[in-house]
């Protein structure tokens, strides 16, 4: 008898579990899940402007958008600018993390360096965009003045009229804002690697490069995957910097998918149907890449065992 009451009391207490997680799931349903479903729903309609009525058009938007040149251009741009930023970013972050881990306590000012490298990440992207507009302005921006002073340039260069240069600036800002954070994440991952492995390798006569390629990199794979996926998902949503910097120009060089979505929905004739279709494509693309990577990674792990 007493056991039974004990059990029912336990069960009663466990109701608190639902109570405690309820706010999360209520808010999640209203403000996260419903918007996703609503976006998918709208992509099958023809809603635009301030209309409140719409008709269902089936998959029409999904086919139509494939003939939209700007959509493709924005897609490619987003990938190009992200790649230009990610490759040097992960390279430098890996190098610095390995450097800090293998020379722990030997580099003076290690803490200060880390604090400085991370710093651009916390600054408002909007502020950074405006800052870079004025720094690289032509003819009177600070960078032009400096380069002419130093004799590197004969006359001021109009950076934001050049497709490649504008892409480089946008990619550089991304690189500059994120390599510090990536480095910190990789550092955390590297610190988790058992130091005995390195000692054993040293006894076997392995040099630094061998240790890095044979121990650090393989064991860091889950973290690298994590970094890649979060970075990729973030890169595919790039908006603030290119939007404020040049509004996508010159000649749509840095027009990104998020900007395409924003402009379709909130400027001109407010094509919500097109914007939501583009969003669903983007969502599918990011999910697909994530899924494939997980799958590849998982299979390789199994082969290894």
């Amino acid at each position: 008898m007493s056991e039974l009451t004990d059990k029912t009391r336990l069960k009663k207490r466990d109701w608190y579990g639902y109570l405690f997680i309820a706010p999360f799931f209520i808010v999640y349903t209203i403000f996260h899940l419903m918007p996703i479903l609503n976006t998918i729903f709208l992509s099958f309609t023809d809603l635009w402007g301030f209309n409140t009525e719409y008709t269902f058009v089936g998959f029409k938007n999904y086919i139509d958008i494939l003939h939209n040149e700007l959509f493709f251009k924005a897609f490619i741009n987003t990938l190009i600018v992200w790649g230009m930023n990610y490759l040097p970013q992960i390279g430098l972050a890996l190098f610095l993390a390995a450097l800090f881990v293998s020379n722990h306590d030997k580099i003076r000012g290690e803490g200060m360096f880390k604090v400085l490298f991370y710093m651009p990440n916390i600054i408002t992207a909007a502020s950074i965009a405006i800052l870079f507009i004025s720094l690289f302005a032509s003819p009177n921006g600070s960078i032009n003045l400096l380069l002419v002073d130093l004799g590197i340039l004969k006359e001021p260069f109009n950076f934001y009229r050049d497709v490649t240069v504008t892409r480089i600036i946008v990619a550089f800002i991304g690189f500059w804002m994120w390599y510090g954070k990536t480095m910190i994440i990789l550092l955390a991952g590297m610190k988790g690697i058992n130091p005995n492995l390195y000692e054993a390798a040293e006894i076997d006569g392995a040099n630094n490069r061998k240790k890095f390629t044979k121990i650090t990199l393989p064991l860091l794979k889950p973290i690298l995957l994590f970094v890649f996926i979060t970075n990729f998902a973030g890169g595919m949503r790039m908006f603030d910097i290119p939007f404020l910097l040049t509004d996508g120009g010159p000649n749509y060089a840095v027009e990104t998918i998020s900007m395409f979505i924003y402009k379709q929905a909130f400027t001109g004739s407010q094509n919500f149907y097109l914007a939501s279709t583009a969003s669903v494509y983007l969502l599918m693309f990011v999910s697909l890449v994530t899924f494939v990577l997980f799958k590849l990674f998982d299979d390789k792990e199994k082969e290894g065992k």
């Binding site: 996260h32 991370y118 408002t124 969003s279």
Partner: protein
């Protein structure tokens, strides 16, 4: 390490440090210079036009105070609510056993991978229907459901919370919420600090959502005001523009310098935002 190699490495580290400081240095210096100085001569030395720039900034309708007020209100409320309810959720999953617990937790993990911006159109249309445009509710309330924060707290609780501690409090007659408020919340303070900074900074820096939702200028957040600096008036008055930017950057740098240890020491792995 050989001496040459060591020299090269330090050179790299110092160059990267300069890269982190240089743009902000020019920013702060130019905030103290007159516009014609800025556009004619490159300089790393401050001048004495700070107050003149400030007058000029305010006279052009750049309401710094209201921007600060609005941003501080939104970010503070968001941070408090997000931390409290995320901790509550994580604790709920940690100590109680209930039906579908596993599945519900999987939902949280999966939702970390779905960035909210991808559903922005549906979000906007929904807010229009609910009459919540030009309101702060769409900027604050959604952050109550912060899956990455829940995940981080859950991991943290797994590593430090012992069931005996809770049992002891219960035997003393404490009710469930009391245990959470008086025992669990103080216990996870370092985790609250780490996630608090991230939440605050993410909310403070958000530009996309307020850009869509907020329409009246008196409700503009600081990043929205900053975006106005791109306008023609300020692109002529460089001194005022640089000062406006400085004002948006300085609070973040101060917060960062005060709390950087919570970010840099690498315990923040679970907290990454894409």
């Amino acid at each position: 390490m050989s001496k040459v190699l060591k020299g090269l490495l330090y050179a790299l580290l110092i160059i990267l440090s300069i890269l982190s400081i240089f743009p902000f240095w020019i920013l702060f210096v130019n905030a103290t210079r007159a516009s014609d100085q800025i556009t004619q001569v490159f300089s790393l030395m401050p001048s004495n036009f700070l107050f003149k720039n400030f007058d000029s900034l305010l006279s052009q309708g750049f309401d710094v105070y209201s921007g600060f007020r609005n941003s501080i209100f939104i970010s503070t409320t968001t941070t408090i609510l997000s931390l409290y309810f995320s901790a509550l959720t994580a604790y709920g999953f940690k100590v109680y056993n209930f039906k579908f617990k596993r599945y519900l937790y999987v939902v949280i993990i999966l939702s970390i991978l779905i960035p909210p911006q991808l559903s922005i159109i549906g979000f906007y249309q929904l807010m229009v229907k609910m009459g919540l445009t030009n309101s702060y509710i769409p900027l604050i309330v959604p952050m109550i459901a912060a899956p990455a924060t829940v995940f981080f707290f859950r991991q943290y609780l797994d590593s430090i919370l012992h069931k005996e501690l809770i049992e002891a409090a219960r035997i003393d007659g404490a009710n469930e919420l009391y245990v959470f408020h008086k025992i669990v919340m103080p216990l996870i303070q370092p985790a609250l600090a780490t996630m608090g900074i991230f939440t605050f900074v993410v909310s403070w820096n958000d530009f996309f959502t307020p850009l869509m939702i907020i329409t009246s200028k008196s409700k503009y957040t600081l990043p929205m005001l900053i975006a106005l600096l791109r306008g023609e008036v300020y692109m002529v008055d460089y001194g005022a523009m640089y000062l406006g930017l400085s004002l948006s950057v300085i609070p973040l740098i101060i917060i960062y310098m005060l709390f950087s240890k919570y970010i840099i020491d690498g315990t923040t792995l679970g907290s990454v935002k894409g």
